[in-house]
């Protein structure tokens, strides 16, 4: 299918009964949504399940979808809501699992003879500490931080995605950054970066 066809056109085609259009939308967004959810829930299987749930919900709601916002914003809204639900459920029923250990990481395999396994291990540990710091943000702070930082969204789009006023998004973002600054300060004060 032509990549130049925009998302909203594909939605219109789907609404007109062309099922392939939804396949194309899944193809375009599955990696981005999975990646966003993996960063949010930090568990491979849960991220996969929620990704499936996102597209399942999108499929069922797409027939009545009105292009008030971009399709991608709407899709991220579903993903963000599911991620927030996930974090709330997890807070109610905490599971102490070594989630991060399950996540495949880039750069873990020595790629050449000059690679330094000790340094790789240190980097891995530091990455773990940083991701745990991000996990300590409130679900809304985390969602705002993730969307603006890693999904390349403008504050306006983040506000639409999370159903918040733009000013509220900014407040959450500022709080998130200040919290991370407090949590991560020891890393650069101890010359660990």
């Amino acid at each position: 299918m032509d990549k130049l066809i925009d998302d909203e056109m594909l939605v219109a085609q789907f609404q007109a009964g062309r099922q392939n259009a939804f396949d194309e939308l899944m193809k375009r967004y599955k990696s981005k949504i999975f990646s966003y959810l993996l960063r949010s829930v930090r568990n491979y299987e849960d991220a996969e399940d929620i990704t499936i749930e996102v597209f399942f919900k999108a499929y069922r709601a797409l027939e009545g979808w009105q292009p008030k916002a971009k399709f991608s914003t709407w899709l991220y809204k579903i993903a963000s809501n599911l991620a927030i639900d996930y974090h709330r459920a997890k807070a109610r029923h905490p599971v102490y699992a070594l989630d991060d250990a399950e996540i495949p990481e880039v750069h873990l395999v020595a790629t050449d003879l000059h690679s330094d396994p000790e340094r790789q291990l240190e980097e891995k540990e530091r990455g773990l500490i940083i991701r745990e710091a991000v996990d300590q943000l409130s679900p809304k702070q985390k969602a705002v931080f993730m969307l603006s930082r890693y999904e390349g969204m403008q504050l306006k789009e983040v506000a639409e995605t999370l159903d918040m006023a733009e000013g509220t998004v900014k407040i959450h973002l500022h709080r998130a950054v200040k919290r991370l600054q407090t949590l991560l300060r020891p890393l650069w004060e101890n010359n660990e970066i």
Binding site: Q19, D23, M26, K27, K30, S31, F34, S35, L38, R39, R42, Y44, A47, E48, T51, I52, E53, F55, F56, Y59, R60, I103, P104, E105, V106, H107, E123, K124, R126, G127, I130, R131, A133, V134, S148, R149, Y150, L155, K170, L173, H174, V177, K178, L180, Q181, L184, R185, L187, W188, I193
Partner: protein, 206 residues
């Protein structure tokens, strides 16, 4: 010395490149004379550098993405089946309630009537828009389509293992897995041919 009032909001926005363009230059001028803000920007920039790097290390495994579509359609197909049953149940519940204690008898009579109608007329619930039986078929067709694609992909991976990695043991293992996955399709014969070729040491079969 009191902390600069700009340091919190504007410094974060500047470090995260969210400061409006018209505020950038005045803030940069301010930074030259304000140690509080310079330190704050350096600190927030360090936060972003750290978190960006840590998040970049998280990779979405390709294998996880392969089955997303199929699992979405499986989920849709399963729900559509449930919807059919739940609609029948809801239908009986709604017609049963006005009859009070005659409910059981009424439901039985209606059930018999519906079965008779199904035999005589066919597709008694088809008029309900939300049932979407055609979409159920579509979801099933898509599950099969993605299954076939998965089989084909596994065959390609087996051939890559055979020809590029020269690993006969792993190739055989992959072909057997693919054959198992392909039960009931013509792909099993293709797998057999490749297995025979592999065992006879003839790698010309593409």
């Amino acid at each position: 010395m009191p902390k600069c009032k700009k340091s919190e909001g504007q410094a974060i926005d500047y470090a995260s490149k969210l400061l409006p363009p018209e505020e950038e230059e005045p803030f940069e001028q301010h930074l030259k004379n304000c140690q509080d803000c310079s330190e704050a920007v350096a600190s927030y920039t360090a936060v972003f550098d750290l978190t960006d790097k840590a998040q970049a290390e998280l990779a979405v495994p390709e294998v996880a993405l392969k089955n997303i579509e199929m699992n979405v359609y499986k989920r849709l197909a399963a729900t559509q089946e449930q919807t059919l049953f739940s609609r029948i149940r809801t239908y009986f519940a709604s017609v049963g309630s006005p009859f009070g204690w005659y409910k059981t008898a009424a439901v039985s009579s209606i059930a018999i009537a519906l079965i008779a109608a199904a035999v005589l007329i066919g597709k008694p619930f088809q008029s309900e828009d939300t049932l979407r039986l055609t979409e159920t078929q579509s979801a099933d067709a898509r599950i099969e389509q993605y299954r076939q694609q998965g089989i084909q992909r596994n065959l390609e991976e087996a051939l890559i293992t055979q020809h590029l990695r020269n690993d006969a043991w792993e190739t055989e293992s992959q072909l057997n897995r693919m054959k198992e996955q392909a039960q009931g399709t013509n792909w099993t014969q293709i797998a057999d041919k490749h297995l025979e070729s592999l065992q006879s040491g003839n790698s010309t079969l593409q």
